[in-house]
Symmetry: C2
Subunit: 239 residues, 2 copies
């Protein structure tokens, strides 16, 4: 069988012999843009069933069908790590979502904090970025991107067993090592203006919140997100 040149996320069951119908957009991308033809092989994944080699059996302008032939990679789920971040400028918000998907975050939560400028996000567009990152980087999991929520609302329902690593250069704490606590975690990246006094107090009172230093230079929020994910993955995650 030919080698697959395209990786595609599909919201569809996958398994041996499974037929997969394409949406209009997918058909346009696969046949119009990527010039795939009947007989060509495409890598499919749905976020749950690993990666499958699927053969194009029909290719139209508005639709198409593939048949799954064999599994080419097992499903790999990331550790139970959430990323909470305050949306910033559009390109950098897109970037944070892309990097979170690459770095193995399991769930992405845009949050509105006291000093967040952005009052809305395009959840569908951010989710599409997470899908594209997984397609590009060989991942079999796509982290869900939630709608924007207020930080206070998220913290007031915070699960007791989930540890929270937060990075705020104006807070005390020169620790770069996390406490060795297994189980679910989350990373909170503040907005460019940092956290408000009320938010600092709130975080300081949470028994399961841990302040971590990202060094003496001020990092942009997108840089801080990747750096924090790297520290967590290397120490407590699946690296």
């Amino acid at each position: 069988m030919k080698a697959a040149k395209v990786r595609l996320f599909v919201d569809h069951p996958l398994g041996e012999g499974q037929s997969v119908s394409l949406s209009r957009d997918q058909a346009h991308y696969l046949f119009g843009v990527m010039r795939q033809m009947p007989g060509d092989v495409v890598s499919l994944f749905n976020g749950e069933a690993g990666e499958w080699r699927a053969e194009v059996v029909s290719a139209g302008r508005k639709n198409g069908e593939l048949i799954c032939r064999s599994q080419s990679a097992a499903q790999i789920n990331p550790p139970d790590l959430w990323l909470l971040f305050a949306p910033i400028k559009k390109a950098r918000t897109d970037f944070i979502v892309e990097k979170a998907a690459e770095m193995g975050a399991a769930r992405i939560l845009p949050i509105q904090s006291d000093f967040t400028n952005s009052e809305r996000i395009r959840q569908d567009r951010l989710q599409a970025h997470a899908v594209e990152a997984a397609e590009q980087c060989g991942g079999t999991f796509v982290p869900p991107v939630e709608e924007l929520q207020k930080l206070e609302a998220v913290l007031s329902h915070w699960p007791e067993e989930r540890q929270l690593m937060f990075c705020d250069e104006s807070l005390a704490g020169d620790q770069t090592r996390l406490p060795e606590i297994d189980g679910p975690w989350a990373i909170l990246i503040g907005p460019e203006g940092g956290f408000s006094e009320a938010e600092r107090k709130r975080l300081g009172e949470m028994g399961n919140a841990h302040s971590i230093s990202l060094g003496p230079r001020i990092l942009r929020a997108d840089t801080a997100a990747v750096a924090a994910l790297a520290l967590w993955q290397a120490q407590l995650g699946d690296w």
Copy 2:
């Protein structure tokens, strides 16, 4: 004295009472774009002398003068860490340079490896990105960006005392901790196609090269650069 609203890198000596003449571009930026006027205060740094509060004493369309009043931050130099990377697509190469400056790399070396697509870079443009990153992020140091060199040429003159951390997912090694060796280091990020067999052999034969894992997911080169810098800084650097 007023608070400074602008941070500007100048290639000029700085010190108490020092007069600083602006270039045409700087005058345009400071007075035309940022609307600064005589009496306003600007933060200046030159990469060597910390940060200075400087007062605008004359503002023209093509030139201008400032006088340094007081030092507002001490010089902070990063650890002796080089970042070697194979240039990729333009926006992502810009991004790597920006992030390296934020994360505290002391020197940035674009390298051409066997599988590097890019055969040239715009060194001046990349250097400008490093300057802008330092301006934005409150840094007082600007890492020099070198011209593109062949990886083989760099490795053949490699200083014996400088350790090299390299990240290549196809190489053996599931270490996320670096050996605790003090002194100068460098990080090498390969191109998207990874390293060639010859390059792998070359690196494997170097006694001071250390392979580090960045996890089970394939990372884009720009993500890998930030993640590797974070691991190094947290373990051996100034975080």
